[in-house]
Symmetry: C2
Subunit: 195 residues, 2 copies
Amino acid sequence: MPPELLDAIRQRFSCRDFAADAALTAAELAMLREAGRLAPSAFGLEPWRFVSVTDAAGRARVAEACFGQPAATTATAVIVVVALVAVLDPDSPYVADRLAAEARGTDVAALLAAYREMYAATDIEGWALAQCHLAAAHVLLQATHMGLGSCPLGGFDRGALHAALALPAGEVPALAIALGRCRQVAPERLRKPLD
Amino acid sequence: MPPELLDAIRQRFSCRDFAADAALTAAELAMLREAGRLAPSAFGLEPWRFVSVTDAAGRARVAEACFGQPAATTATAVIVVVALVAVLDPDSPYVADRLAAEARGTDVAALLAAYREMYAATDIEGWALAQCHLAAAHVLLQATHMGLGSCPLGGFDRGALHAALALPAGEVPALAIALGRCRQVAPERLRKPLD
């Protein structure tokens, strides 16, 4: 008999209608960010940060950048997973710090050489955006585990969201996650068959 | 008091040394693919499939494409999350089927128009590769939940892995996941601080 599916994977669905009067607590938001922080990343670079937006004016700006999608307009909090792109330069202090940690006392020069090769051959912004999706999946499953509703929002005006969050140059929003207490019941699962 | 962190998120780590004599069962592999299948995707497009490799010759080819990384050479199974790129053309039968399901009886033409706009403005291969990382995170957490070791492998020769899996044109390997019974103890967590 196969072991069971992780409850959060079984129960998660994309909520499009959140209760207006149910703000997330600071502790809940911290736990969601912690779940994202523990995601794996290539070379241990953790090329992300998590921007929480809870105030009404900030949420309105984020919702507008997300084209007014219902999940964005009704969410009581949004966590945006932001890709750290500029600091991924192989000569940055950020990379030096992360690779020194990742090497765990072994040869950091070899690790840096491998990273340099990857960096030169890769669209690093696209790579960082993809890595951010590992962290985003953690946040989504953790939200389910905590009884919260969530919805990943990939459809946004990148420039508008960048401005709404006042991000510095060199950071790129990867995915916004709408959060709150869901007012919907779980809809029927729609998935193509495995084969 | 904050609710607890999901066990699988707390316990997961990247295993680099798998026991040689502990093959995964077909039921275990099916459960891992099912976890990936339940991941969210924009427009409900599920732009992925999951290719399991368990035979020794196939694993050797995959390990070679992964530059002989220890996790790849010692894994007793590898699941490669493969991005379905060509079928994402807005005029494909695949897109018609998935959007018809996603519309849930509402206006599929409006959904297709929005998708067409996104498709025209997006590097669709990069987009599909990023989506695959949501599914990959599900597989990794499900493996932990099942007591299995896992390691995401993003460092591979894309052409060599494509050939090793005999993928058709229009499909692109996104991430390989090495799997097995881990012989390591969980290493100390290395993460940059949240702020």
